[in-house]
């Protein structure tokens, strides 16, 4: 169990984002306000006769065509660092925490595809190592703190965030850049397709007609610090800070989570934050749109929030499932919309599932201040729940 306990408060001091909705907090909030849902179709002939829907960052959002992974990371990190306005002295005491499922596979695939055109026996993966992304950011931006890479499937960057918050809180580092990174690659796309987890139409979290998820690419970065930046656009008025979080491994199944364990991880997050269920004002659900996971999450929320279920939403219809990046990506999107005074509706929700008995926001919900719970669940039973507040 993690918790900020009696240590110093940890603020979100700045943020940067690049996703299918846009290339800034403002663009992303506006796109959510307009209910933008814009997946493209990506061919994957090995697994599907028809192209697969995917939330790809279009060239109108970022022009990179090659080495997109590193271009995207640079963009999001620089945006967050500018927003947080970290001084050179502060950068010397800044650590980097990176969460990703596919890590640099997109780059390795790009290299391998090009190499195969020259040599049919070219080596797959010209380099390797799961610490490469955090190391890249540390070197490029001359950060003086440590580098940490998290690889816990879809909860990767959520775990990176909670660990970073705990380290800033306890004084192990003064500031932290926390990244969620996931860029289009055939390994993830074809793997999910082979597992029959992809929807043929839309992601419809908690809806009676939900039939699978869709993947997306995004990179987001938040800067954590023991003090809010007065001049940061991101936290000018009511800065968000970390209240607590928990991670719990559900060992019953590799691919699907169990309601009891999800309920437990939410309870532990509440405990570490020093809150009761009634103190939560809104929930960002994981909400993948798959039959079993949405059912488990819905039942878990009902177990924890017995008196009153706060308004909740899933952001995946806007972004796709950005896998290991979704921890920081969905957090950034949610905070961007709260800055504009609302929590986005779940735009594809149409029909109540009587088996679940609950429904996400059908309209944008007004929200300016309060405690929010963010939930993330990954393969390997890796469940993480965290709580932020701007109250």
């Amino acid at each position: 169990m993690f918790g900020s306990g009696e240590n110093q408060k940890v603020y979100i001091r700045g943020a940067g984002i690049l996703c299918t909705l846009g290339a800034s907090q403002q663009q992303v909030a506006l796109a959510c306000q307009n209910g933008t849902i814009a997946p493209q179709r990506i061919p994957a002939p090995q697994v599907c006769d028809t192209p697969i829907k995917y939330y790809r960052i279009g060239e109108h959002i970022h022009p990179a065509r090659t080495r997109r992974l590193f271009e995207f990371m640079n963009y999001a990190v620089e945006q967050a660092m500018t927003d947080a306005n970290l001084s050179t002295e502060e950068l010397a005491r800044t650590a980097v925490f990176c969460g990703s499922t596919a890590c640099d596979i997109s780059d390795l695939e790009e290299h391998y595809a090009a190499a195969l055109t020259q040599d049919p026996n070219a080596m797959a993966l010209y380099r390797s190592g799961f610490g490469i992304l955090a190391g890249y950011v540390r070197d490029k931006y001359r950060l003086g703190g440590e580098e940490y890479s998290f690889n816990t499937a879809c909860s990767s960057s959520a775990n990176a965030f909670v660990t970073a918050a705990q380290m800033v809180s306890s004084g192990d580092c003064d500031h932290a850049l926390v990244l969620g990174v996931e860029v289009l690659n055939q390994m993830s796309l074809q793997g999910f397709a082979a597992m029959m987890l992809l929807s043929q139409d839309d992601i419809r979290p908690f809806d009676a007609g939900r039939n699978g998820t869709l993947l997306g690419e995004a990179v987001a970065c938040v800067v954590l610090s023991g003090k809010p930046a007065q001049d940061s656009a991101f936290c000018r008025d009511q800065p968000f800070y970390f209240l607590g979080g928990a991670n719990l491994c559900d060992t019953k199944s590799i691919t699907s989570s169990n309601a009891d364990v999800i309920a437990q991880v939410m309870q532990r997050a509440l405990h570490s934050a020093g809150l009761k269920a009634g103190d939560i004002d809104a929930i960002k659900a994981h909400g993948t749109g798959t039959e079993n996971n949405d059912a488990a999450e819905a039942h878990a929320m009902q177990q924890v929030f017995t008196q009153h279920l706060p308004p909740f939403t899933s952001l995946k219809p806007y972004l796709g499932h950005t896998l290991g990046a979704c921890g920081v990506v969905e957090m950034s999107v949610l905070l961007a919309t709260i800055q504009q005074g609302f929590i986005p509706k779940t735009p594809t929700f149409a029909a109540l599932d009587p088996q679940l008995g609950i429904e996400p926001l059908r309209d944008h919900g007004e929200f300016r201040q309060g405690n929010i719970m963010l939930n993330y669940f990954g393969f390997g039973g890796n469940n993480t729940s965290l709580i932020l507040s701007n109250r």
């Binding site: 169990m1 993690f2 306990g5 994957a44 002939p45 090995q46 697994v47 596979i105 390795l108 695939e109 391998y112 195969l116 049919p120 080596m123 797959a124 993966l125 010209y126 380099r127 390797s128 190592g129 799961f130 610490g131 490469i132 955090a134 190391g135 070197d139 003086g144 440590e146 580098e147 940490y148 890479s149 998290f150 690889n151 816990t152 499937a153 775990n159 660990t163 705990q166 380290m167 306890s170 192990d172 055939q186 390994m187 074809q190 793997g191 082979a194 597992m195 928990a246 991670n247 719990l248 491994c249 060992t251 590799i254 691919t255 364990v261 990954g378 393969f379 390997g380 039973g381 890796n382």
Partner: protein
């Protein structure tokens, strides 16, 4: 807060013409057969079981798990990449599911009946030392425990594997699965984690280490693959440590080999303190201190 070590297990398999067959060993250690798991998960299960068998008490269900690797499921990832791009075949569902690195500690948690936090982390140069840092965060509550695993496999052919890792063509390689059980209670501890330091320069690390005092006859120095013989000599003189612990020839290179230095030292020494120093390709330093009780 003091961090204690209750059990350890260091396991290396020198790389030969092909990966070692571990299916029967996994079955004999765990008393059951695992279907469809890959070699990386087998390595993980073998090391974890051997560590758990040495614990003074049964592992508590709330024991957290911090797992680290340099290369992860490199063999499977390379195979699936070839399959997709060269053979134009989609990945098989179980093969795909198992390439995420946190699947290996999932199986450990499942087999041990753990109901706890389970984190998988990596670092390009110091994965084991970084795991110790993260494990420390898991040990804040009284009576808490954390199982730390450090596992790496080879991908065949080995020439390609060396190339990926940026190693010289004649570098001996090994696979490893090294485990420690940590906690905050001194009762029944076999060793104590004294420190772990990460520094950008040799002088900065030297200054950190100068804050510690060791009895010369009890201190032992070991160095990682990033430290040359000449530099090792410099550290010996600087720290005034005259005994060395040489494990590199026996272990051969893998990213998490520092974990073998620590676990094998605990298994073979008593009343000594190991100071292990390594240097990364980026010229950064890391030192770990372990006192065997």
């Amino acid at each position: 807060m003091s961090i204690y070590i209750y059990a350890s297990s260091g396991n290396v398999w020198p790389a030969e013409s092909q990966a070692p067959e571990l299916k029967d060993l996994v079955k004999s250690l765990w008393g059951k057969s695992y279907r469809r798991i890959n070699h990386f998960i087998e390595l993980t299960l073998v090391g974890a079981r051997r560590c758990v068998d040495r614990t003074p008490n049964p592992i508590a269900a709330h024991c957290s798990l911090v797992f680290t690797t340099g290369q992860g499921n490199i063999s499977q990832v390379a195979n699936l990449t070839r399959q997709i791009y060269k053979d134009h075949q989609p990945p098989m569902p179980f093969a795909f599911m198992h390439i995420t690195n946190n699947m290996a500690p999932f199986y450990v948690a499942q087999a041990l009946g753990l109901s706890s936090s389970n984190l998988t982390i990596a670092h390009r140069s110091f994965p084991f030392e970084t795991a110790l840092n993260v494990a420390t965060l898991q040990l804040q509550a009284p009576g808490s425990q954390c199982l730390v695993g450090a596992v790496d496999e080879c991908a065949y052919p080995l020439e390609e594997h060396r190339q990926r890792l940026g190693l010289a063509p004649d570098t001996p390689l090994a696979e490893g699965s090294h485990w420690l059980l940590l906690g905050s209670d001194p009762q029944q501890a076999v060793a104590q984690l004294e420190f772990s330091y990460f520094c950008d320069a040799r002088q900065a690390l030297s200054a950190q280490l100068a804050r510690h005092e060791w009895k010369s006859e009890e201190a032992v120095l070991s160095c990682g693959f990033g430290v040359t013989a000449q530099e090792q000599q410099w550290w010996q003189e600087q720290l005034n440590i005259h005994r060395g612990y040489e494990y590199r020839q026996q272990a051969a290179y893998h990213d998490t080999v520092t974990a073998y230095a620590v676990t094998s030292f605990i298994e073979t020494h008593s009343k000594h303190t190991l100071i292990h120093i390594d240097k990364s390709k980026q010229q950064r330093y890391c030192a770990v201190g372990i006192k065997v009780l």
